[in-house]
Symmetry: C2
C-alpha cells in the first residue's frame, strides 16, 4: 500500500490570502511565545532590545512550541471554514507559551484575566508573568484557557482526548502527541482507545503525532524508525496515518492544510456512515504525523552549535542574552524575524489580519466550554439510595455483599441518566469481579472491536468502560470529568497504585482550578477500591496493598476524602454523597465478599453523616467511662473488632468496652489539617484522653498515628493494621498474619487494661491457644475453623 | 505482503516419537496443574475421586495455564535439540500451577524443596500446597524456580525479558505475553525495547503473544482486531510475527514446532550477522502469536454453559466438585483425560517418557542460574569514592553540584566494570538533565534505532539506558538485577511515582526471596531521586512531589533504605554504600543544582556511617543543653536550617542552638520498627526529650511525625516540609511558599523558646518583614534577593 505523504509540489490548497492569514497568526503566536520565555519589558520591540528587558531567569520550553502554534493556526482556519466544535489537547504541554499566546490572540485570555489586556501594558504583563514568581506556570495548566491536560507529566493526552470525546457527538478533539510522550506506557496503550469509541454516539479524536525528533537530550524512537515501519505501527493501531513533513513555512502551510481538510472530510464521512447509514463497523480513523524541526523558526546556530532541529532547542535556545551581547542580538533578530510591527496595532492589540483567523465566541478553542467542563455540568439524577438498603433488624443478623448492593444502585443511576448521556463507570476488567455486574442490566461494555457468537454485554454504545489498563481507565475518566460529566472508577485496591502519579496530577489540577473563579466546579473523581487487601485470598501477596490511601492523604486536604464504610448500607450512603460532590477526589474502600451487616439504612445515614461514632449497641460503657476503647475503620477490621468485643465480654462481663467506628478517615485529623477534622473536645469525648484505645485499621497502621499524633490521648492509641504480611491463604488467616484478628485484639485489650487480676492471665492464655488451634486447622483443612466462619455478632 | 500463518496441512515437523514425547510431557504438566487447583488427596487418581480429595477453597487460574505448559514443552524440545541457554518469562503468571508443574517434572522443584519429592507423597504435597494456607502462592512467584517475573500485577514481562537479555549474549529469553497484559501501558511501551538491544552484545528475546481471547470477563483487544491489523501492529513494533492458531493438539504440536524452529533459526542468523559479519543494523526479530482456546483441554461445557474457549475458563472451570456430584464426575473425567497412569511410574515419579523431554542440569529453565541471578552475581569494582570528593576547607565555604560529582564516580565505575559487562545506568531521558553526563565519557546511550549526522553518544553497545518511560527503565533494571547484575536509576523525584506499583512488586519479591535459602542475594535496586521538589523552578507544580519516600516507607523495613545526603561528599559516600549492598531498595534524594558544601570527604564518611549526628560546627550548645534543636534532612532544608541558625545567632548570640542533620531517615524510627532505628537513649541524646525541636524536612512533614511518634520528646517536635504548594518560581520562593525557609524557621524557634523576652518580639517582627520584602522583590525582579542568593555559612 502506498503511504499518503503529500509531496511539496501538491497544488495550492490555500489561496494567497488564506495562506497569509494563517502564516501571520502563526508568526504572532511564535513571537508571543518567544516573548514570554525571554521578555519582561519592551514587549512590542518598539525600542532596541536591552539586557534589562530580558528576564534574569529563563524558564520554559521553546522546542515544541512552534509546532503547537502551527497546528493551532491551521485548526483555527478549519474551525472557521467548517464551524467546528473543537478542543485542543496538547500532549507536549511543556510548550505552554504557545497555548497561552493563542488564548491571548483569541481574546479569551484578556476576558478571563482583565489585567492581561489586549494592549501594550497587557502584553507586558503577558510576557512577564510567564514562569515568573507570582505569575503563571511554564506548562499548559489549569490557568490556561482551553486546556484540559496539564502537560507536565507526559503520557495522558490521548486518553484525555478520548475521554472528552465520549458522549460528545459533535465534538472533535485535536490531540497533539509529542514523540517523547509517545514513548510512555500510558500513551502507547491509549492508541487502542479507538476500539471503545462509537462514531454514532461519540465525538471524534484526531491524533496528531508531532515528530520533532528529540527529547531533552536524545532522539526519539518514533522519529528514528523507517517510515514504512511507522505507518505499519499506526495502521496496526487502527488509524490511517497522513504524513506531513518539512520546514519551509509556505510549503508546510499548503501541505498541512490539504491534509487537515482530508482528515476532517474523512471524519465527516465516518460520522455520516455511522449515523445516517447505520454502519456499525469500527472505522479506520484518520490521523496526522507532522514532522518538523524542533525549535522551528527559532535560532539556527548558537555559539557555533546547531540548535534548530536538534535537542538543543528543547528549552532555551539562547542561554544568556542578559549578559552575552551576541545572544542579545540574536534574540532581537529572532523576535524581529516575525515582523512584530505587522502583528500588533498601535495599541498593542493583535492586528486585524491576525484577528481574522480567530473563530468566534465559544468556537475559539481557548473558550470552548468543553474545556471548562463545569460550565456544562448537570447534576446526576440519582435514585433514592435508601431504597436499595439491606434490611438489618439486629446488627450482625444478616449477611450481604456490599459492592453487589451498590451495583443495583449504580444500575438504576445509569438508567436514570441514560438520556442525559453523562455517566459512565470505569474498571480495568474488574466490573464483574468487583460485583458491580448489575450495571450491565442497564447498559453494556463499550466495544467497537470484533464480536463473536457468545459475546455478552458488549455494544458500541455501552457505558461500562473496561480495558486492562488502569492508566487508560483513569485517563478516560479524567477527560470525561474535565469536560463536565460524571464517572465512577472501581479498581482492585492494590493496583490503584498504578495511577498514583496520575492521581497526583489530577489532584494538583483540582487544587489550582478550584482557586480560579472562571473554572467552574466539576464532578469529583470517585474511586471504589475493592477486592481489597483482606480479601485477596486467591491472588495473594501481589494483590495486597492498602497504601493508595496513604498516597491520597498527601494531597491537599481541601481536595481529598477517604471513606471506609463497614457494610452495604453505609457504602450506599457514602457513594450517594460522593456522586453528588464536586471538585474532590473521593476514595471509598469496601469489600465485595459476603459479610455481616450492622446498620439499617437510616442508621447508616446518621453514622455516615457524622463520619465517626460510638456504636452503642456494641458498647457496654453506657453507665460511665469505658475501661478500653476499641476503634475500627474498614469492613474486616470492624468485624474483627466486634468479634474481639464478643470474646472480651464472655470472659469479662464487667469490663466496660466502647466501640468507635470510623467511616470518614479525615475525622481523626486535627481540624487545622483537614476541614473534616474533629475538634479535640469531640475527639476526646469519643476516644477519651486517658484510656487505652486499640484501633484496628484497614491499611498501614502508621497512618492512624499520623492523623492523631496531636490528640491528647495519642500515647494511649495502639494501632493494628496491614504490615505487609500476605499470601494466598484464608480470609481469617490474613488477619492473623497481620495481627488484626479478634484474638490479638482481645489479648491486647486485656494487656492494656489494668486491674483485671489473675483471670487476665488465664484469658490471655486461652486466647493465645486459639491462635495455635487456628494455624493447625487451616494448614490441614485449607479453610477457617467453623467457629470463625460461622461467627455472628449477637 | 503475505502473513506467515502455518496451515494445518504443513508437512510433519516432529517425528512420531518426538510428537509423542512433547504431548506426553504437556499432558503431565496439565494434569499436575489441574491437580494443584483441585486436589488435596489421591494425587495419582489411583482410587475413584471422592469429595474429600478436593480442596474446600478452590483458588487459581486455569484459563491461561495449558498455553503456558504447551509452550514450556516445546521450548524444552528446542533446548535439548539446540543446547539452548534459555529462561522462561511468564507474563500470564496467574498460571502459576503450570510453571510449578514444569519445575516438578524437571526435578528442580524436589531438589529445592525436598519435601515435595518425586514420589506419591511428594505429589500429594505438591498438589495440596498450591494456594493453601502455609503453602505457595497461586502465581509464578519468587517461590517458583525459574521465575523472575511475579505474574500478579500485569505489564512487566517483556521489560523484564529485555532486562534479562542485556549483556547475556548467549541467552535466549522466551517471554509469554498474555493478551490481557498486552492492553497495559507498560507492556505496550515495552515492544519498542528492540531499539535498545544489541544483537552483537546482548541476548535474544523471543516474544510469544498468547491470544486466548479473554480477560476475566471480556474479550481482549488484540484478539479482536483483524489479523492484518495485528500483523501490521507487530511489524510496526519492529518484529516479524509468526502466527500459530488452532486447538487440535497433534496439529498444533506440528505447527508450533515448525514455527519455533523457524524463529530460533532466524535468531541464530541474526546473531551471526551481527557477530560474524559485523552487521550493525537493527534486525527484525522474530516473534510468535499463539492463538489457542482459553482453558484448552479443560472442561468444555459445565452446567450447560460453554467454558473452554471463553472467559468462564479464567479461574475455576468446575466450581463445586466437593458438593456437586456432577462437577466431581466431570473433574475426574477431566483429570483422567490426561491418562495419569501413563504419566507417572509406580512410585509417583514422572514416567520415563515424560522425563525424556527434560533438559539436563542448568539447561532446565527451572534451574537456569540466570533466573536465580544471585548465583551469577559478581560484586562491582568501584573506584575509591574519596578521590572524587570536593575539597571543603570550612563548612559552607565552597559550592558544588552533588549529582555532577557523583557522575564522575559513576563514569569510572562504568569504566572499571566494562569488561565484566554487568553495570548499566537507567534514566527516563534525564541522565544529562540530572547532571550525570560524565558517564557518557565512559560509554554511550544504548541505541539501535536510526542514527543521523550530529547524533552524539549513541551506540548499539551503550550502557546508559534512556527512554521516556519510567516503566520501561524500571522493568529493564529489575530484569537486569534479577539476573545478577548491577544498576543505578536516576529519575526526577516527582515522576518516581510512575513506578510506585512496580516498586511494590519488587519490594514484595525481595521480601519473599530473602526468606528463601536457595535464592541468592541480588544487587539492590538503587534510585537517585533528583531534580527534586525544591529545585523544579522551571517545570513547576506538576514536577513537585516528594511522596515517593512515603510510598517506599510502607514496604517491609528489612528491604527499604532512604538517604538524604545534604551535599556532594555525603552523596558519594551513600552511593558507594548502596552500590555495594544486596537485596535492598535504596532511595537517595539529592539535588543537581549548585549548592553549598559542608563536609569534607572524611567527615562525610563519618556522618553517613552514623546516618545522623550533631553538627558541632553549626551548634553553640557545647557547654550544656541546647535551648532549641534544629533538625534537618535534605539538601535544601539543611541550607535553610543553617541560614536560620545564622539569623538566630546574630540576634540572640546567647541562645544555645543545636543542629542535627539526618542522612539516613530510618535512624529516626524506633529500633523495633526498623533495623536502623536509634535506641531511645541515643535519640534523646541528640534531640533531647524536652527541648523544642524545629525539624526542617525535604518531604511531606507528617512522615517525620510517623517515624518519631514513639519518641519521648515527640510532643516537642515541630516539623516543616512540603505542603503541596508549588509553581514555577524562584528556589527560595518555593521554600517560602511551604514555610520551610530560614525566616519561618527562625521565627518558629523564637516562638518556641521561652524566656527570650522583649527582644524576641522585635526579632520576630524584623524577620516577618523580611518575608514581605522577599515577596516584593521576587515578584518585581523575577529572582531572589541578592542577600538570599549570596548567603553563605560562615
Amino acid at each position: 500500500m502506498g503511504i499518503p505523504t503529500l509531496s511539496a509540489d501538491a497544488p495550492d490548497h490555500l489561496d494567497a490570502r488564506e495562506l497569509q492569514r494563517v502564516d501571520t497568526w502563526w508568526r504572532a503566536a511564535n513571537y508571543l511565545s518567544a516573548g514570554q520565555i525571554y521578555l519582561m519589558g519592551n514587549p512590542l520591540l518598539r525600542e532596541p532590545l536591552r539586557p534589562e528587558h530580558v528576564k534574569p531567569r529563563l524558564l520554559g520550553h521553546w522546542g515544541t512550541t512552534p509546532g503547537l502554534t502551527f497546528l493551532y493556526a491551521h485548526l483555527n482556519r478549519a474551525i472557521r471554514a467548517r464551524d467546528l466544535d473543537m478542543i485542543y489537547v496538547t500532549g507536549p504541554g511543556h510548550g505552554g507559551p504557545g497555548v497561552v499566546a493563542a488564548a491571548w490572540l483569541e481574546g479569551t485570555y484578556s476576558e478571563i484575566y482583565p489585567d492581561v489586556a489586549q494592549d501594550e501594558e497587557g502584553l507586558r504583563r503577558l510576557v512577564t508573568q510567564f514562569s515568573f514568581p507570582g505569575g503563571i506556570p511554564s506548562h499548559a495548566a489549569p490557568e490556561t484557557p482551553g486546556s484540559i491536560n496539564e502537560g507536565g507529566e507526559l503520557g495522558y493526552s490521548l486518553a484525555h482526548a478520548f475521554g472528552a470525546a465520549f458522549d460528545n457527538p459533535d465534538l472533535t478533539v485535536a490531540c497533539v502527541i509529542g514523540d517523547g510522550e509517545a514513548e510512555t506506557g500510558p500513551l502507547a496503550a491509549s492508541w487502542h482507545a479507538n476500539k471503545f469509541l462509537d462514531p454514532a454516539r461519540d465525538g471524534a479524536v484526531l491524533p496528531i503525532l508531532h515528530l520533532n525528533g528529540y527529547k531533552i537530550a536524545s532522539p526519539t524512537v518514533l522519529a528514528r524508525i523507517p517510515e514504512d515501519e511507522l505507518v505499519s505501527l499506526l495502521r496496526g493501531y487502527g488509524y490511517e496515518p497522513h504524513l506531513v513533513s518539512g520546514s519551509d513555512p509556505a510549503t508546510m502551510h499548503q501541505l498541512f492544510a490539504t491534509t487537515l481538510d482530508t482528515c476532517l472530510d474523512e471524519i465527516e464521512r465516518i460520522r455520516r456512515r455511522a449515523r445516517e447509514d447505520g454502519d456499525g463497523q469500527r472505522p479506520r480513523w484518520p490521523m496526522i504525523v507532522l514532522r518538523t524541526p524542533k525549535g522551528w523558526t527559532g535560532p539556527d546556530v548558537v555559539d557555533g552549535q546547531q540548535v534548530e532541529g536538534t535537542w538543543r532547542a528543547h528549552q532555551i535556545p539562547l542561554g544568556d542574552p542578559r549578559n552575552d551581547p551576541d545572544h542579545l542580538r540574536q534574540l532581537e533578530d529572532w523576535l524581529r524575524s516575525y515582523a512584530p510591527d505587522e502583528l500588533f496595532d498601535a495599541d498593542g492589540a493583535p492586528a486585524r489580519e491576525v484577528r481574522e483567523l480567530n473563530p468566534r465566541g465559544a468556537r475559539r478553542m481557548s473558550a470552548n466550554p468543553h474545556a471548562n467542563g463545569g460550565l456544562l455540568l448537570r447534576g446526576l439524577r440519582l435514585p433514592d439510595f435508601r431504597e436499595y438498603g439491606l434490611p438489618v433488624a439486629e446488627p450482625g443478623s444478616t449477611t450481604g455483599e456490599a459492592t453487589q448492593v451498590l451495583g443495583a444502585f449504580l444500575r438504576d443511576a445509569m438508567q436514570l441518566n441514560a438520556s442525559a448521556a453523562n455517566f459512565r463507570v470505569f474498571a480495568p476488567d474488574e466490573n464483574n469481579s468487583n460485583r458491580l455486574g448489575a450495571v450491565l442490566e442497564a447498559t453494556s461494555r463499550a466495544w467497537m472491536a470484533e464480536s463473536e457468537p457468545g459475546d455478552a454485554s458488549l455494544a458500541p454504545d455501552g457505558r461500562v468502560m473496561e480495558v486492562l489498563s488502569e492508566h487508560l481507565c483513569q485517563g478516560w475518566l479524567e477527560g470525561y470529568l474535565l469536560t463536565g460529566r460524571h464517572g465512577f472508577f472501581s479498581c482492585y485496591e492494590a493496583f490503584a497504585h498504578l495511577v498514583d502519579s496520575m492521581l497526583n496530577q489530577h489532584a494538583k489540577w483540582l487544587k489550582v482550578s478550584t482557586g480560579l473563579a472562571w473554572r467552574q466546579p466539576i464532578a469529583s473523581l470517585n474511586y471504589l477500591l475493592t477486592s481489597h487487601v483482606w480479601r485477596q485470598d486467591h491472588n495473594g501477596f501481589s494483590h495486597q496493598d492498602p497504601g493508595f490511601i496513604d498516597h491520597v492523604m498527601n494531597k491537599k486536604a481541601e481536595i481529598v476524602r477517604v471513606y471506609l464504610p463497614p457494610d452495604a448500607n453505609t457504602l450506599l450512603s457514602v457513594a450517594d454523597h460522593c456522586l453528588r460532590s464536586r471538585d474532590y477526589i473521593n476514595v471509598i474502600v469496601a469489600g465485595k465478599q459476603p459479610a455481616a451487616q450492622y446498620l439499617d439504612v437510616d442508621d447508616a445515614v446518621v453514622h455516615c453523616t457524622k463520619g465517626i461514632g460510638i456504636w452503642d449497641w456494641a458498647s457496654n460503657d453506657q453507665d460511665g467511662e469505658p475501661d478500653v476503647v476499641l476503634g475500627c475503620a474498614g469492613d474486616v477490621p470492624t468485624m474483627e473488632t466486634l468479634a474481639a468485643v464478643d470474646l472480651l465480654r464472655r470472659r469479662f462481663p464487667e469490663l466496660r468496652v466502647r466501640v468507635v467506628n470510623v467511616v470518614d478517615l479525615m475525622r481523626l485529623q486535627d481540624p487545622r489539617e483537614h476541614p473534616h477534622g474533629l475538634p479535640d473536645v469531640e475527639f476526646d469525648a469519643l476516644f477519651t484522653s486517658d484510656k487505652p484505645v486499640i484501633f484496628c485499621y484497614h491499611g498501614y497502621p502508621w497512618l492512624i498515628h499520623r492523623l492523631t499524633y496531636r490528640r491528647h490521648g495519642h500515647d494511649n492509641i495502639h494501632v493494628r493494621g496491614y504490615k505487609e504480611e500476605g499470601t494466598t491463604t484464608t480470609p481469617f488467616d490474613m488477619c492473623v498474619l497481620n495481627e488484626i484478628d479478634r484474638f490479638h485484639l482481645a489479648i491486647e485489650a486485656i494487656d492494656r487494661v489494668p486491674g483485671l487480676g489473675e483471670s487476665a492471665v488465664y484469658a490471655r492464655e486461652e486466647l493465645s491457644r486459639k491462635l495455635i488451634e487456628h494455624r493447625h486447622y487451616v494448614s490441614t483443612h485449607g479453610e477457617d475453623m467453623p467457629e470463625i466462619r460461622d461467627w455472628k455478632w449477637s
